[in-house]
Amino acid sequence: MKKILGINCSSKVEKVLADLIGEKGQMEYEPFHDRMVLEGYQMVVLEMGRKEEQTVQQIRKLRYACNFQNIPIVLIHGRKKYFSSQPYMIAGATEVLSIHDPSAACRQIINGHLIPSREPLAEEFEYLEPFIKNTCHILQTMASIDVKFKEVYFSNAIRIFGDVSGIMGLSGNADGTLVVTFFWDLAKMVVAKMMGMEEENVDAELIHDGVSEFINMISGSTKREFVGKPYHFEISLPSVVVGPGHQIGHLQDTSVAVLIFQVGVHCFALHVCIKPKEHRVNT
């Protein structure tokens, strides 16, 4: 049974959800608070509050609480007047639904989001394993940080919910992008450890630089392991994108593997989108 968390839901919305989800999921309800734990839930449904800014903040906090896991956040409301869903989507909502929308359509959308992510194919593990190994090795070597690989899922969503991302464009035998994304606090901690300095002395520029160098090292050390294979790629100079909910476009029609790594209670994610020129991996 899939566990779904309803947050700030009124009795009217609870009734609608019971009808939409039926026996496909087990609903649990909680009021919103700052220390929400979302581990183990397959979906979160938040009822929209009256104030846009407050709801946006709640979505952002829920997205942080997801720790890069693929948990859809569905925002549900009872408004009849048109409003833009853009601020909520940018903050991290997956879907905005109205209780006045046709229930068959809502049911289909919710069921779509409840389909579990597929497991990687053996062929995909062939190129993912070196990335996992090298990511852990780099942080251990450069910052003496123990990193645990947590999980992988595939997503075609282009939105990344970290605060700062390092991007490497790939060319050569294989095209694609590699993106490492962090929440600010972990990025700061990693850079401070690499430099052997106090976190309070780490400025934004150094964090950008550290994240950029990290994706550079992941790319460089991994490409060596693909020599003579279809996944071998060339690298260029990395770029950095900053800001919550930023968007990054990957190659079309290509699987994006999201690898989640754990450092203590924090997580960061590595997106691997790679397509050998003579060999396409389909979703």
Partner: protein, 131 residues
């Protein structure tokens, strides 16, 4: 204090190197691209004992800086340690063939860096003694 030039577009890497080489008595003159590295090298050629070069840098990459150095009478004898994420054998061979004295792949520990620097400096000293 002995001097070396470190050319890397990453401030983080330059900072790590700066700290590591200070522990063995070196002052690191920093450049964030290859072009700047060459002008700093020309300005400090008499005092510089070693150059540490990243491969991928804006304006002029490390391998082009190395080629420039080896074709310049005034700079050709200054030892070079390449420090790069480029870790394939053919890249390492290319850099060594052009005239780098050593090659260190990222990621590295400060201990590995110091070991690589000392190896180059010792070998450079013994070559001077022999000649």
């Amino acid at each position: 204090m002995m001097k070396l030039i470190v050319a890397d577009d990453s401030r983080l890497i330059r900072g790590i190197i700066d700290k590591a080489v200070a522990s063995i008595g070196f002052k690191a003159i920093q450049a964030d691209n290859g072009k700047e590295a060459l002008s700093l090298l020309n300005a400090n050629k008499k005092d510089v004992s070693l150059v540490l070069l990243d491969w991928n840098m804006p304006f002029l990459n490390g391998i082009d800086v190395l080629k420039n150095m080896r074709s310049d009478e005034r700079l050709k004898d200054i030892p070079v340690l390449m420090i790069s994420t480029e870790s394939e054998d053919n890249r390492i061979k290319e850099a060594l063939n052009i005239g780098a004295q050593g090659y260190l792949t990222k990621p590295f520990t400060p201990e590995k860096l110091i070991e690589a620097i000392e190896l180059i400096l010792n070998s450079s000293k013994s070559q001077k003694t022999t000649s």
